[in-house]
């Protein structure tokens, strides 16, 4: 569903910018000059771009097409509804900048409807913005960080009312410690991971934890990420390469409610190229230097996908479309739709797009570290281990990918590694959640248990 030829207009918007005062010189010219050179959508204005199969849009239509993809994703999947309080994760980059812009525009529109309605029954969803500060890990000069944060604050406060605030959340907040202790612990934790890819992925998990923690503590009920088709395509390939084929489909849907605060990806159908273009055209300010290039496996994957995209401009779409055909998980939809504040149309549409009920009845267990659903082969390799040590129980409960790329190789360091992890992560492994590993293991030995209570051993 990610992109079919009719909705994905991912063509070249490379050389339309002559009219804007940007620098790109035109590199392609329209081949057949017989046809009147008009936007394919409105058939009135001149297109921005002169060549290519797709993307013969004028500026207005390009914009409205992109916003249309966002809105369709939001409404079809009930990603944001009037009663919601939405937290937008903002990194300063073009994707999350557009996510912020579009969420803001949507909020403005519903504010307008609210103001116009007589009984004021339609509510307007709330929006907050959060930036996760990872400067503890990336040694960027503090003046640069301060400057970037200042810029981002300005971006957020410059948005038209309703007013929004940019919250700065240091990544070490996941430890719930004094800030200096937290920084110390984060450094130690990341330093104990020897594989560069593993370190990068662990940081990503911690970022999600920090976002979840902040959202939960501040009354938000949705977390908006700016992940676009291009980034998702990279994730499809890197998850495949890391042996995470089973859990992959959990990560790439519009909605992911395995977290306490459901995560939504309204830009899932937009290409990075389009988002960059929009930022340029509309003068949306982005803060680029914070985006560190990937290393290790993730770096290889992104240059591979880049190369493929050059070879065929629809490749990213195809990759995401393939992965979109994998069966999603039961948690890949926004729960509780009986709320009367959800418009009927959304509810109906969601029904149409979502899973059959038979597929939704399943109890997944999750890797306590990366929170990806575990498949049976991961669980059976877990059963082989017999140990009473906490660290080993934790290790055995994790997915094989985390075990390989994040865990220390020798068992003696394992206890130390576990002691550095944020409390909630370790707790996830120990207790399991309502449908977690523990209960699954329990099921397998049920016939041998004499008591129903889990406390008795």
């Amino acid at each position: 569903m990610a992109c079919n030829s009719s909705s994905c207009q991912s063509g070249c918007f490379r050389n339309e910018v002559e009219r804007e005062q940007h620098s790109n010189p035109p590199t392609e010219t329209r081949s057949d000059s017989n046809e009147p050179n008009l936007c394919v959508k409105c058939k009135a204005n001149e297109p921005m771009c002169g060549a290519g199969e797709d993307g013969k849009f004028c500026l207005d239509c390009f914009r409205s097409n992109l916003y249309g993809k966002f809105r369709l994703a939001v409404t079809s999947n009930a990603l944001i509804t009037p009663a919601d309080n939405v937290l937008v994760a903002f990194s300063g980059g073009p994707s999350s900048r557009v996510a912020l812009q579009f969420v803001h525009e949507m909020q403005q529109r519903s504010q307008k409807n609210f103001d116009a309605s007589k009984d004021r029954s339609l509510r307007v969803f709330g929006v907050g913005v959060v930036y996760v500060d990872e400067s503890t890990y990336y040694s960027v000069p503090s003046c640069e960080i301060d400057k970037a944060i200042q810029d981002m604050k300005l971006t957020v406060s410059d948005l038209a009312p309703p007013a929004k605030e940019l919250h700065i959340v240091p990544i070490e907040s996941v430890f719930s410690l004094e800030s200096s202790d937290g920084r110390e612990r984060l450094k130690k934790l990341l330093d104990s991971v020897s594989d560069p890819t593993g370190r990068e992925d662990l940081l990503l998990h911690l970022r999600m934890l920090a976002l979840q923690k902040f959202a939960s503590e501040n009354g938000y009920n949705r977390l908006v990420l700016g992940l676009c088709t291009s980034r998702i395509a990279c994730h499809v390939i890197s998850a495949t390469v890391k042996g995470q084929g089973y859990s992959l489909s959990a990560d790439i849907q519009y909605a992911d409610a395995r977290w306490e605060i459901p995560v939504v990806l309204p830009l899932r159908d937009c290409l990075a190229k389009e988002l960059n273009m929009l930022c340029q055209l509309d003068g949306l300010k982005t803060v680029e230097f914070l985006n560190k290039p990937h290393s290790g496996i993730n770096g290889l994957v992104s240059s591979f996908v880049k190369l493929l995209q050059q070879e065929n401009p629809s490749r990213e779409c195809t990759i995401v479309r393939t992965a979109g055909k994998l069966t999603p998980f039961h948690f890949n939809k926004i729960p509780e739709l009986n709320d009367s504040s959800v418009p009927l149309a959304s509810r109906r549409r969601q029904k149409r797009f979502n899973l059959k009920p038979s597929e939704s009845i399943s109890s997944e267990s999750f890797c306590p570290l990366c929170y990806s659903p575990l498949n049976k082969s991961d669980l059976t390799s877990l059963n082989g281990q017999e140990s009473s040590e906490n660290s080993n129980i934790f290790g055995a409960a994790c997915c094989s990918s985390c075990r390989f790329q994040i865990f220390p190789k020798d068992h003696s360091s394992m206890e130390h590694f576990c002691s550095l992890l944020p409390g909630p992560v370790v707790a996830r492994a120990k207790h399991g959640d309502s449908n977690g590993n523990f209960s699954l293991l329990r099921k397998q030995i049920q016939d041998c248990l004499l008591s129903d209570s889990e406390d008795e051993t």
Partner: protein, 355 residues
């Protein structure tokens, strides 16, 4: 004295980490363990034996054709299978099955290699030729259609020729030399092309069980590098020249990517295969319904099989017939933008990766 000491250290003072007795002679590509040659042979062969046993690839008494091209994969496969057959009493009747496409200077040379293998390993050899089956050699086809699209013929004809040769030999199964790198590449290619049906079955170790003759891949988990290493140390006699009609005698993007991955994380190849096995693909995703070709009886989803369509074009002087049509659905990688800087995304042009 001192000099000699440091020299012996340099040359491999390290002991094999498996037997702890002999000097390590190589770094095992799959695990990076430093091991001796003898232990390498043993783990290499034993792993393949385990794959055969765990997946029940063969039953005692079966007749098995080994698809033999004279290249490294099939040569090592023939050698190892005949070894294991003897050692573990599989009680298999093994045959070498080769296809003679009729390519002067390429196939005739590689067939010489297979003929030597026949004697070296004591395995009966059957050669089926395009000329006998279709009335055309590849040389003749290329004379008619030129160097463009010739691999379409090559691939389609070879796949069918292997089946026909196998039925002449009355074998129960064909074993092919596809290795772990090949399968990992196929997984990636199917993702890149949006081919969910092929993605769902490309990691199966046995395929075509519904068809006339099933095929299996005993090297599913065997790294290409280890196959080369095995052939090198055992001094096996194989042929390594690329097909002269294959216009791209280099690796494709996906293969390069896999080699890059292997360099920083050898396990990535196995992880890709593991992902391929574990993708959540609903069972309703099936290949198109298979029937039989009206002309030759070969399995086909169309009225006529691809080979018959291509053949008809050749015989009627319309060699383009059947070339443009894509094989299945979603073949978007093939139609446009196939090449950039002279490189394509797949490494094997003649369709040997996908069967």
């Amino acid at each position: 004295m001192e000099k000699e000491d440091s020299k012996s250290k340099k040359a491999g003072g390290r002991l094999c980490c498996i037997c702890n007795q002999r000097r390590a002679a190589l770094k095992r590509p799959k695990t990076l363990e430093q091991i001796c040659r003898e232990c390498f042979y043993e783990v290499f062969e034993e792993e393949i034996h385990q794959v055969i046993v765990e997946n029940q690839l063969f039953k005692p008494g079966e007749r098995i054709a080994i698809g033999a091209s004279g290249g490294k994969d099939s040569t090592v496969l023939a050698y190892v299978l005949s070894e294991l057959n003897r050692r573990h009493n599989y009680s298999l009747d093994l045959f070498l099955l080769s296809i003679d496409e009729g390519i002067t200077g390429y196939r005739d040379d590689s067939l010489e290699t297979v003929k030597r293998n026949e004697i070296q390993y004591g395995l009966p050899l059957k050669i089926v030729s395009y000329k006998d089956l279709y009335g055309w050699t590849m040389d003749e086809i290329v004379r008619v259609i030129g160097l463009k699209n010739n691999c379409t013929f090559c691939g389609v004809f070879r796949r069918q020729a292997l089946d026909r040769g196998a039925s002449l030999l009355k074998v129960d199964k064909i074993a092919t030399g596809h290795n772990a790198d090949d399968i990992a590449e196929t997984v990636l290619l199917n993702i890149l092309r949006g081919d969910i049906a092929r993605l769902s079955r490309c990691t199966s170790i046995t395929t075509g069980e519904d068809g006339p003759i099933p095929r299996c891949k005993p090297f599913k988990y065997t790294y290409e590098k280890e196959i080369v290493m095995y052939a090198y140390f055992k001094r096996l006699d194989y042929f390594s020249t690329e097909c002269i009609y294959s216009p791209n005698a280099y690796r494709g993007f996906a293969r390069e990517f896999i080699k890059d991955l292997e360099r920083i994380r050898p396990r990535a190849i196995l992880d890709i295969i593991k992902s391929g096995e574990n993708f959540r693909i609903s069972t309703s995703t099936k290949m198109p319904e298979q029937g039989n070709c009206e002309r030759c009886g070969y399995i086909s989803s169309q009225k006529s099989c691809k080979a018959c369509v291509l053949l008809e074009g050749l015989n009627r002087g319309l060699p383009k017939l059947g070339i443009g049509r894509s094989r299945g659905h979603n073949n978007d990688g093939r139609k446009d933008g196939k090449q950039i800087n002279g490189t394509s995304i797949e490494s094997k042009q003649c369709g040997t990766l996908d069967f």
